[in-house]
Amino acid sequence: MNTLILKTTSRFLFTLLLLLSVFLLLRGHNEPGGGFIGALVAVGAYALFALAHGLTAARKLLPLPPLRLVGWGLLVALLSALVAFFLNKPLMTGVWFSLLGVKVGTPVIFDIGVYLTVFGALLSAIFGLEETADRTPEEAP
């Protein structure tokens, strides 16, 4: 939709939504939220931006093609699950350590994997459909 109002607002909302998304991701272990919810909000951010500014502009705001993110997300999740191997514990056993005073555990890293995977997969769906929609000749009824 090519409207000035939407374009201007979406620029602002995009960052806001991304911020909210990261907020929901990182807080998820203690408060409502988590990787999946965070990813959905991030997808919403990109969907909004693509809607207002077009697909090409939205693609520029993403360092990787979305589908590649799926692979990386799964890889992060897998690695977090494998850490336990080195401690001689079963698959996916939570391993916690302190990082700069913040308690970080493999379950949290796993949640980041969830975030990346869901984000990549859904965004690839939205972008894919936007791309085909872009080519549909627009016509007034």
Binding site: L4, I5, T8, G101
Partner: protein, 159 residues
């Protein structure tokens, strides 16, 4: 903008010192740091100082907005709840004086939230804002009052 960056950096420092990374602590820290920066205002150059005036103007703008929303809601309530619908709806073209994207958007959104008017679209050459009004017995009066209150307020914060 530089002042804002300073403010944020100081706030992060505050959070590290207090060892609390909550939103509330951020806000407290932000407010504190702002006050400190306010004291140090003369150290900043002219464009940066706009940060401090904006810090004053923005709340005023917000308050105006809230007030307008209340007014408009009451107006709607009156219209909705009166036994006979006493509305005079219509689409009117509102000539814009504001120019930038941000200004136009702010104005349009403000118009939607204020009594009896709802922004529909901006013309492609950005000269006219088409508005749907609930009570447009006198389109020119609507235009004039909008121009006087809302557009002025917008210009105040953006320029």
């Amino acid at each position: 903008m530089r002042a804002f960056v300073y403010n944020v950096v100081l706030t992060v420092f505050w959070m590290l010192v207090t060892e609390s990374f909550t939103l509330s602590n951020f806000l407290v820290g932000f407010a504190l740091c702002f006050l400190i920066l306010l004291l140090a205002r003369p150290l900043f150059d002219a464009p940066s100082r706009r940060y401090f005036t904006l810090a004053w103007k923005l709340p005023r703008f917000g308050a105006l907005m809230l007030w307008e929303i209340v007014l408009s809601s009451l107006r709607v309530a009156q219209a909705v709840l009166s036994p006979r619908l006493s509305i005079k709806p219509g689409f009117i073209a509102y000539p814009l004086t504001v120019k930038s994207d941000l200004e136009i958007t702010l104005l349009a959104n403000l118009i939607t939230l204020t009594p009896g008017t709802l922004s529909l679209d901006v013309s492609t050459d950005r000269k006219v804002l088409y508005v749907h009004g609930m009570f447009v017995d006198d389109p020119q009066a609507v235009i004039q009052s909008t121009h006087d209150s809302l557009e002025k307020a917008v210009l105040e914060v953006t320029r």
